[in-house]
């Protein structure tokens, strides 16, 4: 499926190009915008973006590859990012990540069969007082237990299915 940048998104990119002192600064916000809509950033998206922005594709790719928040592959509808850094590790963060993988029969970083869930381990998200924690898409879920985390994901799944 060819990537098409909708008018509203194109306008967003054009506005961002004017917002900062350097055009290059518009790359990160534009990539976020695409990811918000598509869930990830494909090679076609980069190539379209390069054209709209008037910036080299190679440079956009370099930026894309450098930052961990950009998904370079499709992810599930729920991107479950479990913190496994020190304070969370001390409170069962790693076991939580494993448990969620088991429950949804998905390997870390892969997409579950139903396209619903991707689980990744992430570094400290600045919520260490409420460890263990996870971020699902944009939202933080804190002070988790394995049970509460699964419950949250089940509820979110229901919502996504609608």
């Amino acid at each position: 499926m060819a990537f098409i940048l909708k008018d509203e998104d194109k306008n967003f990119v054009l506005e961002e190009l004017k917002r900062y002192e350097s055009k290059y600064s518009a790359i990160i916000p534009s990539l976020f915008r695409i990811q918000k809509k598509e869930g990830w950033i494909s090679a076609e998206a980069v190539s379209v973006l390069s054209e709209v922005m008037g910036l080299p594709e190679a440079h956009i790719n370099e930026v894309l590859q450098f930052y961990t928040m950009f998904n370079k592959e499709p992810v599930g509808k729920l991107h479950v990012q479990v913190c496994t850094n020190v304070s969370c590790a001390m409170n069962g963060g790693r076991e939580l990540a494993k448990k969620i993988c088991q429950k949804y029969q998905v390997k870390e970083g892969a997409v579950s069969q139903d396209g619903m869930i991707t689980v990744t381990r992430v570094e400290c998200l600045g919520a260490c007082d409420k460890a263990p924690m996870m971020q699902v898409n944009d939202k933080y879920w804190e002070d988790l237990t394995q049970e509460s985390a699964i419950q949250i994901l089940e509820d979110l799944k229901q919502k996504v299915v609608g």
Binding site: Y20, S25, A26, F66, E123, C124, C128
Partner: protein
């Protein structure tokens, strides 16, 4: 321990849920200090901040007024950049400050920008903090609407524009030159210093980079004066500091206390250790700070001098409390994985060293390590220090050195009990 040891200079009104709004903030005397600041000359503000002894709260602890003084003495364009990347493991104070008091940060930034004559500032917020990004952006919009940003602020003749910028997931963008690269739309790789950002920063313009908490602390300094600020804390570590306490305490959270507060009092303030547990170690300043043993904690005070005399550092103020239920081998593995993952790869000692360290420590944890590996860890870590573009390499080396040196017996014991028999035999008389 009573709550009396808390000293809420910055966080006084944080319990007020309306404090985050413009109305709530102004009800609590918000933006009043800005009016006072505009009656002062910029150089008077710089002098006051210098005299207050305020040191950067982002990790390096550099005196803020001195940094501001490095700017070229001319009228040429310069930038103020607020470091809200908060990536140091264990740190969660800037997030709270932005969520609870976005206008406090904005006020502190306008005062600071006026002091250093910057007409444009950015708040670089880590990408995962989507709530902060929204809250701070809305607060900026509101400040514009009320005439606190833009042209001729409050009739002062001073113009200032402010914007937010979102990071996209990279610890290294918390390092000031990495942040500048990122804001420039490049990979967030640090640049060689000198030139320091105050001379040549964002797009080669002089740029002052300060942490969220540092910029907010400028408000009480201008409000109450340097002498008042200096009356808090210790002689060389003045004022208050937010400590993000996590790990094995009953009530983890952010606590604002005077610098120089005994570490054990701070732990008490957090409800102490969990029942039946004893203290094993504390990482006093984020995961880059060398770990303290329980013995060292007894007379440790939370200020720059005391912790550096103990070979550690105050860092970002992230205090990770570790009780006897945890394995130091395990925790070091977590930390080494982090630095290996976050090394930007520009410098060989850092790129290779972090990889080696992770591999060695992981090997020990999994049971394939040898006692000789401990000395190898020390050698590798020592070779990573002071030889790279930025301080991440040191930040990775220091925990490795301190964990292995201070908990060597535990590492050796882990190796002996976890390793296959063959290993155990060859190392038993080591």
């Amino acid at each position: 321990m009573s709550k009396a040891i808390e000293s809420k200079l910055l966080t006084e009104y944080y319990d007020d849920p309306h404090y985050m709004s413009f109305e709530g903030y102004t009800k609590r005397k918000g933006y009043e200090v800005l009016k006072k600041a505009f009656k002062m000359k910029p150089e008077e503000i710089v002098a006051e901040v210098k005299a207050s002894g305020l040191r950067g709260r982002g990790g390096a602890g550099f005196p803020t007024g001195v940094k501001w003084g490095f700017l070229p003495k001319n009228d040429k364009k310069r930038f103020l950049l607020c470091n809200a990347d908060e990536g140091e493991p264990g740190t969660f104070k800037d997030r709270m400050m932005m969520e609870k008091a976005p206008h406090q940060l904005i006020e502190g930034m306008i005062i600071s920008a006026y002091a250093v004559n910057a007409h444009k500032s950015y708040i670089y917020i880590r990408g995962e903090y989507t709530d902060c990004l929204r809250i701070v952006k809305e607060a900026i919009d509101e400040a514009y609407a009320k005439g606190l940003l833009g042209k001729n602020i409050l009739g002062s003749g001073f113009d200032h524009d402010m914007d937010v910028y979102s990071g996209a997931g990279a610890y290294i963008c918390g390092e000031e030159t990495g942040m500048i690269s990122s804001l420039e739309g490049l990979k967030g790789q640090p640049k060689l210093k000198p030139p320091f950002p105050a001379i040549q920063g964002y797009l080669k313009f002089p740029t002052i980079v300060n942490n969220v908490e540092t910029l907010a602390a400028v408000i009480p300094i201008i409000e109450k004066g340097a002498d008042f600020y200096k009356s808090l804390g210790t002689e060389k570590s003045t004022g208050t500091k937010l400590f993000s306490v996590s790990g094995d305490v009953v009530q983890p959270g952010n606590y604002e206390v005077e610098l120089g507060t005994p570490l054990m009092d701070l732990i008490e303030l957090c409800g102490g250790l969990k029942p039946g547990r004893s203290l094993k170690a504390v990482i006093p300043g984020g995961s880059s700070a060398p770990v303290l043993t329980a013995d060292e904690c007894v007379d440790a005070t939370m200020d720059y001098e005391n912790l550096s005399a103990k070979g550690s550092m105050l860092g970002s103020g992230a205090v990770i409390v570790i009780d006897d239920s945890h394995s130091m081998v395990d925790l070091l593995t977590v930390i080494m994985h982090f630095y290996h993952h976050e090394s930007c790869g520009q410098c060989t000692p850092c790129r290779e060293g972090t990889g080696w360290l992770e591999k060695l420590v992981k090997g020990i944890l999994k049971g394939s390590g040898r006692v000789e590996d401990l000395d190898l860890i020390l050698r590798v870590a020592n070779n990573m220090k002071g030889r790279t573009i930025c301080a991440l390499s040191d930040a990775a080396a220091l925990p490795a050195l301190s964990f292995v040196e201070k908990f060597r017996l535990e590492f050796e014991q882990h190796i002996r009990t976890q390793s296959p028999v063959r290993e155990r035999e060859t190392t038993s008389h080591a």
